[in-house]
Symmetry: C2
């Protein structure tokens, strides 16, 4: 069986045989583009190698020798020839790209003789010896396992002894001396001398690639990513070309469209008489493409024709690497080009207009994660490049802002009222800080993760936010923050980049968010396709209006507790909590009821009949009470009680693990009057709107349900209350009472709960916390290590843990729908904004996701992508079934 | 079809047709015992009633009339007769007893005429009118739904107007006036007059019983307990007899053996010329049975023969109610008698000796929950009766103790060293208090639930413990506690009853625990039967020795962190935690390693080859750091650091939800050296024992595992460490590395984990916390309400939540065994000591439970019962399959 394929024998659909890299080189060759020639040793050979006790079979060795001969003919160069030495690169390439495997050996074919030939051919002795010492280094490490460090310390010692600062200080003689020393290392390590025979070099390199397929890191990676162990890797052997062969040579990279703006205009960089590495290393400043056009007009025309052909062929903007060797053009690589969010959207919409791709393809081309960046102001790349960040935290909420820093909500408020741009800096935030956050341009905390209070609220408000900024030492007492030893007091100016998590000193200029017309077009296509509806999490009429403008179809989550944190209400709420008996609660409840009725009235009026889901009170009561001594004194005074009595109440309500404590529907079982007040406010608001002729459809959501008796107990009380109100008003009203599915137990008995709940809404934050036993507020101390070590693939609060949390969700959906086929099921939680999670939600039959307003466009796009991918899977399955 | 059965037509195996009560009355009749005659209207009639739109069918009414005629003949009394009025009781009785249903109407058949006849017959006018007013009250409430309260307030008003204190002050005339007023209430409530016709009374009462089967409370109860709605209820109609018919009459209760000691000797109480109610109400002091023997020697002989027959027939000690009416003996009820733990064990073992029951039956007769009481001292019933408790908390750990109260570990220790009996009183306890707990006779806390730190540690130590004693106001500052307004300072004397949760003032005398020979016998039988092994949770060699003496077969859980709380070690542990780098940790780790090696050596030496499972460090590091200012200063001094630096470290380690934080194996991923130190200590201890010729088999357990990569990552490191130690020692060692299954996620992916773990051990505490989202430390604020309202059937930390947590456990067992058939699976956690939970564990294939030493006997017995019940189910299934 054939084990080796020349590039002109393959095509891009032969990935499983040739690997991704091999198939791509074959495709370019097939298109008639000038590609340095070579061949791919197929994955079949990799299997044989394993079966053959990690030995290259005689057949393969013969086939390699034959392929080399053919390559010598094509290139008119010869292995082991001093005059025209054939040098090749050897690269691994599986069907799926994978870290941990041996990647590349360059310049294979060099030995003590051919290095001299190369020096003559390139007229560059230093270059030739540098190539040789690199080959010795890569080969020694990859083939014989001599530690990288061993070679590096030889180099470092050599430089130190000679007082050199960088590699560039080394002369040809120096590099030759190092290469000699490297060859001694081979002997010292007990592997024998560096093989001078290029054939032997090649065979050893191929065997090393095949062996690296089985190395533990690669195996763990495959296990983690469910990649079949048996797919194997291919090896690509390609003739080297040198852009540094003289003034008629050069190298460059180019994009077929502008990767920053998306403009349809070729964009690239070129360096005369240089190698690829020189472009990347930044040692020389690259020129533009016009330099190439001047230098080699014919090759340049050929180049323009070729890249246009490539974009047309691949139906996407391409990023190509190319080399001129003595005026002859070679393409080394083409791939889809990376682009900014703005460019991605513009290119996709333009290409539909040009007839290059269809709408579905356009929808799949844009990363939903990037889309939300388009809605926020950002710092221009040039601005960022010109400034060094002070420190970096987690990019909790995109946006860019500059302003004066303040450390408390009241001081932030005062500064805002005085007309300042404010940045709120805190160790962490609590609901007490909400008003400070509202008036700030950005929020920065030294603690907490991507779903900490600060992060969630910032995203909800669409405000720039950076959290878990570990190198900030916030001194709340002294009202100052220390960053790398420098102290910044109240009023100091900082700039915050929410997209990258970086914090800068001083004021940086940000570009303002614009309504991107291309984005509107793309989203309108997405809404037609996406089967999963997109709602917003919104706690105020303002948030809701924002969400509607971004395309939300309703509200999946209104957190009523946020309404209690406004300062005029907080005191009433506190009076309620301090109350000793149900009787003492009557007055504050009545006051809160009036305010809530007005809140709900405003939201439902905006909704104009769209679904608005209101979640009843969720957090534990102690969240509403003051925590520090000063605030304690103020509140005790306002409530007309002694500080010690207030302290006692705070102590009684204190909990060891508030996340697992007395909150949500548990509060409603012990204090039923709170939820009764809330449903009264909802119904009164709805009745008022009905009288005004506005359609209204309240969805009431009960959090934290664990058992059916708990749900029935609460629902009976709420329904009785509502029906009494409706009967008194002689008005019918269509309403639903549904539940959050956020406790693992609720998933396990979802069939029971579906008998009594009108809808389900997953709370993925709590569900993830409980499934893993991870507190999102405390995860910062070990999550970075877990991610570093590959124990977790991703932060489960950012991307759904399909294996665990996802399994529970699927169980709940299946059980719920088994009990009631038409049960509406949504997801509200931070994961509702994550595209990978949305794909999973769509696959298990979720009806809608509800996300913060600024995530709505991302979710709309992700929902469309999920539908397209499912349709694609389904059509593939149909084809296979035929 | 026959719908009515006279008592002589039934048998006890006809429960589903006649209900439990009916079948029992039939059985006694069948045995030839004198039972007031009557009949049972079957459950079939109940179904008909429902089908017939809640109307008695003509057929049933005819059958009732016919049965009444027959009853009149048998009793020689007549309905509606003034001279010989037939009065009956009407009682519901389903196959399964159930609260919430209409229970009893007595004296039915009385009306304005027959009441006069009854007065004459009993020569007691007051009694007759009292019977009548009771009938009116019960009937009005049950049949017409007139609120109980309405009747009660008439009674209360009447007494107040007449200056009466109790019902006993009321004369016949008074009761007659009340009865008249009651009849007016019937008219006022709109239901028409009280029916004077006894037939009509009976039909209405029967219909009311059938209707009550469908009432919401009964339906909810059936739903909660999975009782089929269709089984229906029967109605028992029985002639009334009157023990207060004169000097030749009386009433009594008797046990066939002494219910306190278990002695084989009849034990009872009797009241001449009295009704059952008089015995129960305590108005008159009952005489002993000799009174009856003197008064009616013949009836007494008949009584002795009958009760002996009953015990023989039911193969169990009986509790009978009986009445003498004009010298004639009637049995009203027989049932298995309630008994103390001591009596239960003695009776069961004695009855095996007497050939009355076999060993299996004996094992099923004793409540495992009670057994642990036999191991602890207790207050005699007489002592308790003579004292009024000050307050009551949760009975966290059985035992009885008196002593002087202290509020801190150091003061408790000092008092203990001065020779005092100490009771430690605290708001709650933390690991810092361990040494104070060790020296105390009892532990009392004002907070926390049955699985709070104080409760768990008290049970672990076998110490008397009462927790969550809400009415204690502990002032740690002033070193005093206030109970109902009285202040008790340091050194005040209290007594604590861990079995009931009651706290008394002063010193009460307790009886000391004795080695009960009967218990030893019973447990030896149990160990032969039980398929599930019983291990102990033990942290020290002392605990382990205790557990062995109680019959434990090994150690399922050694919590290594408890070893760090001894004061000499705590400082070393703190030095370790304060250390900034891995290098700074080397020295304290080395010191701790030496101490741990000695700990493990002692335990393994005692084990003599029995399994000992050591759990690696579990709690978050901040648990080891001081919390109050005084302790902080002391520790900073000892560690040679500033208080502010120590405070900073404490603040950094602080967690919002420690239960979900940086603990267990997460610590080991970030600080791998800690677990490496622990396994080194384990291996060194094992090697030392091997050299001494002692067999040793270490089981190492990793807590909090969530994912397979996490387990693999840790296991690779631990195995490498262990193997290096063994290689250096040139000694092979059989060891296992298993995991706690305590995170919901671990259950969901147990098939993956089983590939790498040598055994599973469920941690039911954490698993329950996460499945419900309940923190066991914070549950106190809502659990009582949840239990009161029937939302939870039981505290899920005391009895397994089969529906939720149990489902996850079963999933994990099935998945684990699917991946590896022979995987050993245990349960260590508080639920391992709960018999109901143990039954479930046995049913899903758990191999062993591990419980605190004092729970070992209970668990051995429960394991035997689980096996017997499973065998019984299996044999029943076989019979049905035939």
């Amino acid at each position: 069986m054939q084990q080796i394929y020349f590039f002109n024998e393959g095509r891009r659909d032969m990935r499983s045989l040739l690997g991704g890299k091999g198939a791509n080189l074959a495709e370019m060759t097939h298109l008639g583009l000038p590609v340095p020639q070579g061949f791919t040793i197929s994955t079949v050979a990799c299997h044989d190698y394993e079966k053959n006790q990690n030995q290259l079979s005689a057949e393969l060795r013969a086939e390699i020798a034959q392929a080399l001969g053919q390559l010598e003919e094509i290139t008119e160069k010869q292995f082991n020839s001093v005059a025209t030495p054939l040098l090749v690169s050897v690269r691994s390439g599986a069907a799926i790209s994978m870290p941990g495997m041996m990647d590349t050996i360059l310049n294979l074919g060099l030995n003590d003789q051919t290095v001299i030939g190369l020096a003559e051919q390139t007229q560059n002795e230093r270059f030739a010896w540098d190539c040789y010492r690199r080959l010795l280094q890569m080969f020694g490490n990859v083939v014989y396992g001599i530690p990288e460090q061993t070679f590096e310390s030889v180099l470092a010692n050599y430089k130190r002894r000679n007082g050199y600062r960088t590699d560039l200080d080394m002369t040809a003689a120096d590099l030759k001396a190092v290469a000699t020393r490297f060859q001694e290392l081979y002997l010292e390590s007990g592997h024998g001398a560096f093989p001078q025979s290029p054939q032997e070099q090649l065979e050893l390199a191929v065997a090393a690639v095949f062996t690296s397929w089985q190395n533990p890191r690669a195996q763990v990676y495959r296990e983690l990513h469910h990649i079949d162990n048996n797919i194997g890797t291919a090896v690509n052997v390609q003739a080297m070309v040198f852009g540094n062969s003289g003034a008629d040579s050069g190298t460059g990279v180019a994009f077929t469209r502008d990767p920053v703006t998306g403009k349809h205009k070729i964009f690239g960089e070129f360096l005369q008489n240089a190698q690829g590495e020189d472009v990347v290393s930044g040692v020389r400043t690259p020129q533009g493409l016009p330099t190439m056009a001047e230098m080699a007009p014919q090759a340049y025309q050929q180049f323009l024709t070729a890249v246009a052909k490539l974009e047309k062929h691949y139906h996407d903007m391409q990023d190509v690497e190319f080399t001129l060797e003595h005026g002859k053009l070679y393409f080394l690589q083409t791939r889809s080009g990376k682009r900014t969010a703005k460019a991605a959207v513009k290119i996709a919409v333009d290409q539909v207009g040009e007839g290059l791709i269809d709408r579905n393809t356009a929808l799949l081309r844009v990363d939903p994660e990037q889309v939300s960046n388009l809605l926020h102001p950002e710092f221009a790349a040039a601005t960022l490049a010109a400034h060094k960040p002070l420190t970096k935290g987690l990019p909790a909420s995109p946006g860019a802002a500059s302003g004066k820093i303040y450390f408390t909500a009241p001081s932030a408020k005062a500064a805002h009222e005085a007309g300042e741009q404010v940045i709120l800096v805190r160790q962490d935030t609590s609901p007490e800080d909400i008003e400070g956050m509202v008036v700030s341009e950005a929020i920065v905390t030294s603690r907490g993760g991507m779903t900490s209070h600060a992060a969630v609220v910032a995203r909800g408000m669409g405000k720039c936010g950076v959290v878990g900024c570990e190198h900030l030492i916030v001194d709340q007492q002294k009202q100052q923050v220390t960053i790398n030893g420098t102290v910044y007091g109240e009023g100091s100016e900082l700039s915050v980049d929410g997209a990258s998590g970086q914090v800068y000193a001083g004021v940086l200029t940000a570009t303002q968010a614009t309504q991107d017309q291309n984005l509107q077009t793309l989203l309108s296509w997405a809404k037609e396709i996406g089967q999963m509806d997109v709602y917003a999490n919104a706690d105020t009429a303002n948030d809701f209006a924002q969400a509607l403008s971004f395309g939300a179809n309703g509200i999946g989550l209104t957190r009523t507790e946020h309404m209690f944190f406004k300062s005029d209400r907080l005191l009433k709420m506190r009076r309620l909590i301090i109350a000793g008996t149900a009787l003492d609660r009557v007055e504050p409840l009545a006051e809160l009821q009036e305010l809530q009725t007005e809140d709900f009235y405003q939201i439902y009026r905006l909704a104009q009949g769209k679904t608005v889901t209101i979640r009843l009170l969720d957090p534990p009561l102690h969240e509403f009470l003051p925590h520090d001594a000063k605030e304690m004194a103020r509140v005790a005074d306002a409530l007309n009680m002694s500080v010690s009595a207030l302290e006692k109440r705070v102590a009684v309500l204190h909990e060891a693990n508030p996340m697992l404590g007395h909150r949500g529907c548990r509060l409603a079982v012990t204090y039923p009057d709170i939820y009764e007040m809330q449903v009264t406010a909802i119904v009164n608001a709805a009745l008022r709107l009905k009288r005004e002729g506005v359609p209204v459809k309240p969805h009431i959501m009960v959090p934290l349900i664990d058992t059916l008796p708990e749900l029935k107990w609460l629902k009976a009380r709420l329904v009785a209350k509502i029906n009494a109100l409706l009967a008194a008003a002689h008005t019918p009203l269509h309403y639903q009472i549904g539940i959050m599915i956020e406790m693992p137990r609720a998933c396990l008995i979802a069939d029971q709960l579906a008998q009594s709940a009108d809808f389900f809404s997953f709370g993925t934050n709590d569900l993830t916390q409980l499934t893993f036993g991870y507190s999102r507020d405390d995860i910062g101390s070990f999550l970075p290590t877990y991610l570093d070590q590959g124990i977790l693939k991703a932060d489960p609060f950012k991307t759904l843990d399909v294996e665990g949390v996802g399994k529970l969700m699927k169980m709940a959906v299946d059980k719920g729908r088994y009990a009631r086929r038409s049960l509406p099921i949504g997801v509200c939680g931070e994961l509702g904004g994550d595209p990978a999670s949305i794909r999973y939600f769509a696959s298990i039959g979720i009806d809608y996701v509800s996300v913060s307003p600024f995530r709505v466009p991302s979710a709309i796009l992700a929902s469309a992508q999920a539908t397209l991918q499912r349709n694609y899977q389904a059509s593939k399955a149909t084809v296979q079934a035929r």
